[in-house]
Symmetry: C2
Subunit: 416 residues, 2 copies
């Protein structure tokens, strides 16, 4: 079963919006072991949409179309599919009522245009909407199929998971259950992780029902995705758990405690968990990061339980006045520790975290851009780590932020 994704919308061709749908669908199809060999973008033009669909059907078994299902004259995906199927569009009265009910529930009158969304190519199956007004469609074309889904990402993702993926799996005759988990790491390079896992990769044959893949995630470290295919959900989960133990053991042996979370768990979530478990509050002092560390911590729902606040001591005098540093160089290990003690005192928190360094483009206190010190204070202990970070000013600041949070994570785990 080969699937092709066709994203419809002139705004994609003009570069006015990014096509995140094709990327998301690609990831989902890959995670479910379904081959996807081509993506296309096409504008809101009837003949060209028809051409794109014919092209896709010629080289793939199933086509997922995103977009062009709205209520305006520009939204012509329905007509194009009807032409491909060589059938008329028919207005579906149940859909008319469903769309009218959706508007009523929001206290609005349904514009007449929205009736167009109730038009269905004869022979197509409707995928009911749960989040918007445009229904999805499952349209058979000979032995092949076109799925039409809205271009709005949160409508598309829900419809894909609920209706399109199960239908695709039924067509492939695939009855196994696929499950996966992402291990989020910080502190090792992708090539380093690949080297550590190289032997394990060679041990994993098609029979082992388990795969390992790396996902790029910008500066947020490297994600390792483990996927297992079982006869049922219990079996898949058993396979996944066993493989996760193997991968964790290999990575820990090679690089120590580099896995900070799983799936959607962020570094700041890892910090929050530890502070809540240990009943501690936190204050942060920031220089070059200028509030990035504090703002990530505030991202966590319920941060007020453990986050006191921060001091952005950008000017040196603020470090002297508010954090109690002795006048002198402000980019050093000693300064970072003094800042951590100072912010803990000023904000009356249990833990103090501080970042000072050189974001660039100029040198400061004799240090090159990219030189960063992270200081901490907890109980009677203080400490600091020196980092040497690559890149330009925004990258140095972004790397500093996650690095500082990782230092704190390790300190809270007793790695002092």
């Amino acid at each position: 079963m080969r699937v092709e994704v066709v994203a419809v919308g002139t705004e994609l061709l003009l570069g006015q919006i990014a096509d995140t749908n094709s990327q998301w669908l690609g990831e989902q199809l890959a995670a479910n072991g379904i081959a996807c060999h081509f993506h296309q973008h096409v504008g809101d033009n009837h003949d060209r949409i028809v051409l794109a669909f014919r092209t896709a059907l010629a080289r793939s078994d199933a086509v997922i179309v995103c977009g062009g299902l709205g209520p305006t004259q520009d939204d012509i995906t329905r007509e194009a599919i009807a032409e491909i199927m060589n059938v008329p569009l028919e207005r579906n009265e149940e859909l008319v009522e469903a769309i009218r009910a959706m508007f009523n529930s929001r206290g609005r009158q349904m514009p007449q245009n929205n009736l167009l969304q109730a038009d269905v190519p004869r022979g197509a199956t409707i995928i009911p909407q749960r989040r918007g007004t445009a229904p999805g469609l499952i349209c058979p074309v000979g032995q092949k199929v076109i799925y039409a889904a809205p271009g709005v990402p949160y409508e598309l993702t829900e419809m894909f998971e609920r209706a399109i993926l199960p239908d695709l799996k039924a067509r492939t005759g695939e009855s196994s259950v696929i499950t996966s988990r992402v291990l989020r790491t910080w502190g090792a390079s992708e090539s380093g992780l690949a080297e550590a896992l190289a032997e394990r990769f060679t041990e994993l044959t098609d029979d082992s029902r388990v795969t390992i893949a790396f996902l790029a995630s910008g500066i947020e470290g490297i994600k390792v995705r483990v996927t297992a295919r079982g006869q049922d959900a219990v079996h898949a989960e058993e396979l996944l758990a066993a493989e996760e133990r193997v991968v964790r053991s290999i990575l820990t042996k090679a690089y120590g405690d580099i896995i900070f979370g799983v799936d959607d768990e962020t570094m700041e979530f890892a910090i929050a968990q530890r502070l809540i478990d240990q009943g501690l509050t936190l204050g942060v002092a920031e220089s070059l990061t200028g509030g990035l560390v504090a703002s990530r911590l505030v991202d966590v729902v319920g941060a007020s339980m453990w986050f006191r606040g921060g001091i952005v001591s950008y000017a040196s005098e603020v470090k002297f006045d508010l954090l109690g540093l002795e006048p002198g160089p402000v980019v050093s290990a000693d300064a970072a520790e003094e800042m951590a003690l100072g912010v803990r005192r000023a904000l009356k928190s249990d833990v103090g975290l501080a970042i000072t360094g050189v974001a660039g483009p100029d040198r400061q206190d004799g240090h090159e851009p990219g030189t960063v010190f992270v200081g901490w204070a907890l109980g009677n202990e203080t400490g600091s780590s020196q980092l040497r970070l690559p890149g330009d000013r925004p990258r140095v600041r972004a790397y500093s932020t996650i690095s500082a949070l990782d230092v704190l994570r390790r300190v809270l785990d007793g790695q002092r």
Copy 2:
């Protein structure tokens, strides 16, 4: 002249990276008046790349291929083009020397694999590299053409502007010069701007050589792009300047001072300019934004000239202790003004800016999530603005950040 973009790379189909190249090329082609009707993604597979190229050549006059020009076995764009052209690949000795020189200049030995990058389909023209090792190619196919460029964005963009765009323009016989400017607005909706400009849109015919378009930019306001096509650079700039005056006048009449910058100028850049002009320093106090405002100000190179720092007073006690608020409700216009005065005092800055509000999900001090107060202090004056912002916690925080900066921009412009 119809152009199609084909992005090559299995990682695009697997969703491991986002295809920013097609979006960027789409925007560039549109800005230069060149039609682009389709984009494709295809993986690193010879037969499928050939099929994607044939598909593109059948429905377009020119194809821009990004990616697959690297030095590994996966990089097979050159072979695929040679097959389409029905010619052999020939090793180009000048390219061999250029690639070797590139490695030498970085103090590294050239791996043998990189010799593959010197292979050129017979009859193709080389586009020399300036930023990496993979040369680009201009490959005639009958009356049509395939351009091959690297997938690394900063290599692609340079090569497109220097060689591909001029070649495309030469083929279209287009000798006019196109220039454009983006006006960045905050405070009006896209439909509101469209309504204000509706009459102007109808006045602009093909003869007027000027177009206006809206660019989506997430929460950073709406961008209005004005594009002019002149007989030469001077003529294009004259047309552009005249149309910019018309657009500015219409928008200012309808919505007041909503244009905060042009092209790449950010809101924080607008703040920096005003503070430098007026010789003022700034300190910020943040509650729900948690450091986002400070971190954006630090983004500006040279921020140390005018930015003193910030206090992230997330816990109410920090507002009382460090900012001198009277214990009581902390989400109010009075609290915002007190915070602005408090941070100005604590950081010894000339201007104080403060943000307090409810990010959600819970209500606070009797206010719904999305209720935000921005306070300011400058000279003997203080003031505040109340905002009602939509969305979930991250969106409320992001909208609060740019809204607060816009309030400060207007205050610095004397709109108190």
